[in-house]
């Protein structure tokens, strides 16, 4: 081992500065406003590619940057802070499973900067509960996988898959009998129907995926690895939440220091000040959780699962408060099309509903905490 916490922290700070600088060359909020007008969903894939972000988590011998969770979190924070229209958690989640399974064409996918989409699925957290996927309000079952003569086929529907409509390959979890298994599916294959959907936020590419006897390649992965993919996905959502919240806090602070009303700057009023301090409190809590996640990754599966869902819940809580408070602090002008605040609000309104949604994450967190208590008691 070399270096100290401080040196590791310096490297992360350099990474952060580099991503921020690159992102600041584009005005993604302006693009979101334009895209919202024209009804399209934006993409900054080429910019991400120029920064080697798509393969950031892949090992260096496969052409990636070999980033660990701590570096991944920094990238996600900064991309989200700039409102970059990209679904890195989905892409990274898919690519990581391909790498873990030792897919032979990984190096080629990395070289081509192929776009992946991963349909995250939650392992059972309550006794008797199945694996679940989909958006809030659905608690949908996994698709079914079956052997056929020349390989495997999948039947089922995956709704609200982030990044799917532009993906070159899909990674999903399906049930082979009772056993969850990860599969790779090509969007162009017969039996695969992708329907793009746009819901309120024009920075998030979304699609429904219908699989009818669709050909699929199984990925050789242990079930723990599939569980970890869920934790990683949630932790990455938490990291994005940090970026969104920090940006909302910056915007609100700038306004609260300048805006003058009733004879003084509005930031001097406790009602405004406490709202902003609450943003700080919630974002720092989320940072505690993502740091915990990065430390637990590769160390302890139970802690990883717990830290992942805690990060997601904390990040969603932070955004819930920050994206709406940012509008309130700006008063009437914050609620207009011309202002930047609504685009952060729009994004969170959609994203909180993906990957089973925030409220389902709270159920998971409660279940994991209670389970851990029972396990300690059983020992």
């Amino acid at each position: 081992m070399s270096g100290t916490t401080t040196e590791a922290g310096d490297l992360l700070a350099e990474l952060r500065a580099a991503i921020t600088a690159a992102m600041s060359r584009s005005d993604f909020v302006a693009s979101a406003r334009e895209d919202t007008d024209t009804g399209v969903v934006g993409s900054c894939w080429e910019l991400a590619r120029s920064l080697d972000l798509p393969a950031a988590l892949v090992a260096e011998q496969h052409g990636g940057l070999g980033f660990g969770p701590a570096e991944a979190i920094v990238c996600l924070e900064e991309c989200a802070r700039s409102l970059a229209p990209i679904c890195l958690p989905s892409h990274w989640g898919g690519l990581r499973l391909l790498e873990a399974a030792g897919e032979p064409d990984l190096d080629q996918l990395v070289a081509d900067a192929a776009q992946l989409a991963f349909a995250p699925a939650r392992p059972p957290v309550i006794a008797g509960e199945p694996w679940l996927q989909g958006a809030a309000g659905e608690r949908a079952p996994l698709p079914k996988a079956a052997r056929r003569n020349d390989g495997w086929s999948i039947d089922g529907t995956l709704r609200w898959v982030a990044g799917a409509s532009r993906a070159d390959a899909l990674v999903l979890i399906a049930l082979e009998g009772e056993t969850p298994t990860a599969f790779r599916v090509s969007p162009g294959d017969p039996g695969v129907t992708l329907t793009s959907v746009v819901r309120f936020d024009h920075t998030t590419d979304l699609a429904h995926v219908r699989l009818g006897d669709a050909p699929a390649t199984p990925l050789e992965l242990a079930e723990d690895e599939l569980a970890r993919s869920w934790a990683l996905h949630q932790a990455m959502l938490g990291a994005e939440g940090i970026g969104i919240t920090r940006r909302c806090l910056e915007m609100s602070l700038a306004h609260a220091r300048e805006r003058y009303a009733f004879g003084r700057t509005i930031g001097s009023f406790q009602a405004i000040k406490h709202r902003l301090v609450e943003m700080l409190r919630l974002v720092e809590m989320t940072e505690n959780c993502t740091t915990w996640f990065a430390d637990a990754w590769n160390e302890d599966l139970d802690d990883t699962m717990l830290a992942g869902v805690a990060a997601r819940v904390a990040g969603d809580r932070a955004q819930q408060h920050a994206t709406s408070s940012n509008i309130f602090v700006h008063g009437g002008m914050g609620a207009t099309w011309e202002h930047d605040a609504p685009y952060f609000y729009r994004r969170f309104q959609l994203r909180r509903l993906l990957a089973l949604g925030t409220e389902e994450a709270l159920v998971e967190l409660g279940a994991r905490v209670l389970d851990r208590s029972w396990e300690t008691a059983d020992v």
Binding site: M1, S2, G3, T4, T5, A8, G66, F67, G68, P69, A70, A72, R96, I126, G128, L249, L253, A256, R257, R264, G267, S268, F269, Q270, I272, K273, H274, L276, V277, E278, L280, R281, E284, M285, T286, N288, C289, T291, W292, A294, D295, W297, N298, A310, V313, R317, A361, L362, V363, E364, L365, G366, A367, V369, L370, D371, R372, S373, W374, A377
Partner: protein, 397 residues
């Protein structure tokens, strides 16, 4: 993805940690297991002698003369061993460190060794009935005499350990004719001096964990002034900074971890299938887990010599509010027995509302952090640049 390489330690750290762990392994069985005060003080003294407490205090006064990293490692090992640590928080974690920075060398020689040996406990004579969050509004008056002494009159409140303490560090007004912050001085009061009386203050639980302290013509020498006459505010702020980081790091000590709430809920095995109950538990868990992780990470940062941000005060806010909601949840799921006499939860339900204001109310903490961390402008302050004696509060005193 490769392993995270955060928080590596040097060989010297490893050696210190190994020595600490060895000592604790050999002696942990002798650690007190009850709340007996004398045993806890004696154990604290043994930890000091073993170099596990008072780690950063100067060697000449009986400390370890080491740095943040060793102090944090020692703290981690004490927690890991599951044994009690500091008992005299006021002396060991607040006034000792304050005196190291603010007191004269004779004062250090007089007070520091007694704290480290556990022979002289301290109490904090700051809050008053009319000065809590607005601490600079204290009215306790010290008047200088021709004999070179100070005569102190007034009342202090919320004083932990006043009935056991040898000394109290009192924030008093020495000059009412200057603006409120400028007229304050920190004076050491021997608690056995004539004119000092201590009365237990019963709280919600019915127990008296705090005290009221009355000071009637208490006479102390000039030598008891710490940090200079009129500089009391700066010294008090230093002490409050140590108090806040001590509180932020002692979330464990308050035993308000989510595990404790979850363990209580095992009384109802059916809750493992109750999605509504799990949702509500999750709602509290996220706050308590984030605070526990935040404290653990802060220990690592302190180890690297980073000063705690004033934002650590938010940890207390999170902890207290989440724990209060946790108690609400236990009541709703387990029924009125949660409030039975002597129940651990009766104790928590009783002390948490007071904790919300300890070290500053939540509202004042949020003001502070808004101003000091976020750089927001303060509320207009009509009391800032006028003599204390001309203020409504000062004039009424």
């Amino acid at each position: 993805m490769r392993d995270p390489q955060l928080n590596p330690e040097t060989a010297a750290d490893d050696g210190f940690r190994a020595a600490a762990r060895r000592w604790l392994a050999e002696h942990s069985s002798q650690a007190p297991t009850t709340g007996d005060r004398d045993e806890l003080i004696a154990w604290q003294t043994r930890l000091v002698e073993a170099g596990l407490l008072g780690v950063m205090w100067p060697r000449e006064y009986g400390g370890g003369g080491l740095g943040h990293r060793e102090a944090a490692i020692a703290q981690e090992e004490i927690e890991r061993a599951g044994v009690p640590g500091v008992f005299d928080v006021l002396g060991m974690e607040i006034f000792g460190p304050t005196f190291v920075l603010e007191a004269g060398s004779e004062q250090k020689q007089r007070y520091l060794p007694g704290i480290l040996r556990g022979e002289e406990l301290w109490c904090q004579l700051f809050s008053e009935p009319a000065a809590g969050s607005d601490l600079a509004g204290v009215r306790t008056r010290a008047r200088h005499t021709e004999q070179g002494t100070w005569v102190v009159n007034g009342q202090k409140v919320w004083t932990t350990n006043a009935q056991f303490a040898s000394f109290g560090a009192a924030l008093v007004r020495t000059d009412p004719d200057v603006p409120k912050h400028a007229g304050l001085t920190l004076i050491v009061i021997p608690m056995d001096a004539p004119g000092v009386s201590v009365r237990g203050l019963r709280q919600i639980s019915g127990k008296a964990e705090f005290n009221e302290v009355f000071l009637d013509d208490v006479e102390v020498p000039d030598a008891n002034v710490i940090g200079g006459v009129g500089h009391g505010w700066a010294v008090a702020m230093r002490a409050l900074m140590f108090e806040r980081s001590s509180m932020a790091l002692s979330g464990e000590g308050m035993n308000l971890r989510i595990e404790r709430f979850a363990n209580a809920l095992r009384a109802r095995p059916d809750l493992r299938h109750d999605r509504d109950a799990l949702h509500r538990l999750g709602d509290i868990a996220v706050e308590l887990l984030a605070v526990a992780e935040g404290s653990a990470q802060m220990v690592k940062r302190l180890r690297d010599g980073e000063a705690p941000s004033p934002a650590v005060g938010l940890n207390k806010v999170t902890l207290v509010n989440a724990a209060m909601r946790g108690c609400d949840l236990l009541g709703e799921l387990l029924g009125p027995d949660v409030l039975a006499p002597g129940s651990e939860w009766t104790e928590a339900v009783s002390f948490l509302p007071g904790m919300r204001s300890a070290g500053g109310t939540e509202e004042v903490l949020r003001n502070n952090i808004g101003e000091r961390v976020l750089g927001l402008p303060p509320e207009p302050r009509p009391d800032k640049n006028v003599p204390f004696s001309s203020l409504l509060a000062g004039g009424a005193a």
